[in-house]
Symmetry: C2
Subunit: 109 residues, 2 copies
């Protein structure tokens, strides 16, 4: 497994990178959120997910209010270095609706 340094991450024009969050045990996709450089550094340092809230325009420590923190198992980077995949051990539901995953709805076809 090739290792990757934070310096090589490609943030977008707003300084953000999308981060997919996956349950490390069940492999279920829990949510997608955005990180800036500071929230990624906090995530690496603390071992718990931190994001950039685009609506509130502030750092968002997932679970700080709800208690549903996400312990980080590992972080992968894609081939273009413009998407992150975080595998986590969640303390509770990922979604603000109380659902385990934010992807609780299926598209009709």
């Amino acid at each position: 497994m090739e290792l990757f340094l934070i310096e090589h991450i490609k943030f977008d024009v707003n300084g953000l990178i999308p981060a997919i969050v996956q349950d490390a045990e069940t492999n279920e996709i829990l949510m997608l959120a955005y990180m800036n450089a500071e929230s990624l550094r906090l995530t690496l340092e603390k071992g718990e997910t931190h994001f950039w809230s685009r609506s509130r325009q502030e750092i968002w420590h997932k679970g700080a209010t709800s208690g549903n923190i996400q312990r980080v198992a590992d972080i992968h980077v894609d081939c273009d270095a413009d998407t992150l995949l975080l595998r986590v051990k969640p303390a509770g539901p990922a979604c603000h609706t109380g659902e385990r995953t934010c992807f609780y709805r299926e598209m009709s076809r």
Copy 2:
């Protein structure tokens, strides 16, 4: 499982929505790409993933050149309706590098 209509999808200011692609059998995350309304409609109609190539600025039928198409098993929408999760059956590697998944690199900590 609540059903969701394409009319309610929230595309961003560029008319795009991020789409996480997951292997429906192994649950491995394969890639993240972007869809506009047309590529989402083509994906629903054809049952194979179509994206919007931001670099080439054109519809991109995944596997049209390489043969590594992705048959769509199901599509989920997140709570904000601004991210898609596609579970697929891939005919071959997802990554242009030949790796099975685009997330073949791990971040050093």
